[in-house]
Amino acid sequence: MNVYLLQIVNGIGLGMLYFLLAVGLSIVFGLLRFVNFAHGAFYLIGAYLAYQLVHWGVSFWLALAVAPLAIGVIAWLLEKALLRHVYDHPHEFHILITVGLALVIQEVVILIWGPIGDNVDVPSTLQGVVIWGSFIYPKYRLFVIGFTAIFALALWWILEGTRIGSAVRAGSESTETVSLLGINVFRILSLVFALGAATAALAGVLAAPIRGVDPFMGLEALSVAFVIVVVGGMGSFGGALIGGLLIGIIQSVMSTLWPQGAQLMIYVAMAAVLLLRPHGLMGRG
């Protein structure tokens, strides 16, 4: 099979995961107007929670459902207990408190699971490859693409079609408008924050069988999420999708052409987009 086709498909899979990572960050920013630097940490504990559950013999499918929900609840609690108190402080402290949180979470992970990572087995039903003529590809990776595509559709439908979704979109324009509409803004903030964390955790669970788990995957995820959001445009669902796919494909293709530079290229791509379109490919002003 053509190696470039392989890498492009890999890139799509990677890109869908990147989309998952970025969309939560983007929506949270749209509403809370701050960037959650603990976003990567939610990805991290999502992955580790799934890893632990599978280790205990729980089925991967159950872990796929439980881990994001659990992380969502944790995030919801953290928002209520901690983050809410910094909203009226200067924005540096919104960021710094989440940096502190990310650090604490990372250290707790190392405390519990040790500093060295581990592998996560692909669930038995998805092991092996599919063979369509000359197209040979791991089943699990195809599943990731399909699953995230469906999830993306569901998320898009929630944002565009439901009252909650409209409130979220309106809220990113003005929190006053939302409260005038009679919706409790604070409850939405907590909910949205939890949703953002849950999508990051979901990305972590899905990524775990592909890249394993290690305590520093959170930072890696955070930086990439930033790149996607910068490239796609802050607050844009479509931007997160396009940005994710673009960066995922670039990274995968580059890993064949210039392996050492593959990581570098995604940041170069970001710099290029910034030069040409400072607000991202689909960002508003």
């Binding site: 960037v35 901690l82 408190i97 940096v99 250290e107 707790v108 710099a271």
Partner: protein, 325 residues
């Protein structure tokens, strides 16, 4: 007396540089405190004075480290011109990064600095012929001064380099004091307070931010250069995220209200690290908690805490030290 009052932070810094050798057994730890103190000063100029939260200080630290490494080991340049070129490299890189980053505001700006930090890291990683890749550059020379030998400090003693570092540190501290109390420094404070207002009364805030970046980059690169000379290595990690985060955390925990607080933050971080990391490897967890605490109710960091305690001791509540003009 008024001059003493005006220069009280410089005096505190001088006192600290004299105190450290008496309190610490390790010369290299003392030097490290001053080196990262410099880096924190560079970070504070951006954060405390211009209101720019930069996750990219590791870029300039690492570039300074690499510059000295490359120039001394590959190009055979003597130490002084190498360090000077390292400073220039830092200033230029900071201006470039700044030019991109300040097009955005607030959280978007912060994200960009982090993304650029990663970019430079992977750049360094992917050019091993220049940077030594994973291994870094080795055998960076540590300068020594014959003068100090004659004063009784042996050339092999880490206290030699400490003395050199201390002199440079105080010189830079003094220069930064001048900059932050100058007309330019006051304008930075205004921009931090209300950028829209600064624009409306005639200041091209972009220029000011870029200038702050350039100065910050220069100081941070100087710190990186000294770090390479002290350890003899210009490692990849100097340009990594962890360095950026460390510098930022030192700056925030020390306090962004004045320059001495930056030294305080660096000292606190490194001394805690030295002391705690043997007791409990996960001491960074406490640091994370400290960051959370600072964000919640200790915006002025350790310095602010000190002020509050001093106020309590004096029996009345003191407002935390904010810049006032």
């Amino acid at each position: 007396m008024k001059a003493l009052q005006r220069h009280r932070f410089l005096l505190l810094a001088a006192f600290a540089t004299v105190l450290l050798p008496m309190v610490l057994r390790s010369g290299s730890l003392g030097t490290e405190v001053l080196i990262y103190g410099l880096a924190a000063l560079g970070c504070n100029l951006l954060l405390g004075y211009t209101g720019l939260l930069s996750f990219g200080q590791g870029i300039f630290f690492g570039l300074g480290s690499y510059a000295v490494g490359i120039l001394t080991t590959r190009a055979g340049l003597p130490v002084v011109p190498s360090v000077l070129l390292a400073i220039v490299t830092g200033a230029v890189a900071a201006t470039l990064v700044g030019a991109f980053a300040i097009r955005q505001r607030g959280a978007y700006f912060v994200m960009l600095t982090l993304a650029f930090a990663q970019m430079f890291y992977f750049l360094a990683y992917s050019l091993p012929s220049l940077t030594g890749g994973d291994n870094g550059l080795l055998n960076v020379p540590t300068p020594s001064l014959g003068l100090l030998a004659r004063l009784g400090i042996a050339p092999q003693s880490p206290w030699q380099f400490y003395t050199i570092t201390a002199v440079v540190f105080l010189a830079v501290f003094w220069l930064l004091e001048r900059v932050t109390t100058s007309v330019f420094g006051r304008t930075l404070l205004a921009i931090r307070d209300n950028e829209a207002r600064a624009l409306a009364i005639g200041y091209d805030t972009r220029h000011f931010k870029l200038a702050a970046f350039a100065i910050s980059g220069a100081v941070t690169a100087l710190a990186g250069a000294f770090h390479a000379m002290m350890t003899g290595i210009a490692p990849l990690s100097d340009i990594g995220y962890h360095t950026s985060e460390m510098i930022l955390v030192m700056t925030v925990i020390g306090g962004t209200g004045n320059l001495f607080a930056s030294l305080l933050g660096a000292a606190f971080y490194l001394l805690m690290s030295d002391w705690l990391s043997t007791l409990w490897p996960r001491w960074l967890l406490l640091l994370g908690l400290a960051l959370i605490a600072v964000s919640l109710f200790l915006h002025q960091g350790l310095w602010g805490l000190g002020e509050k305690l001093a106020g309590l001791a004096r029996g009345r509540r003191n407002p935390a030290g904010e810049h006032r003009a």
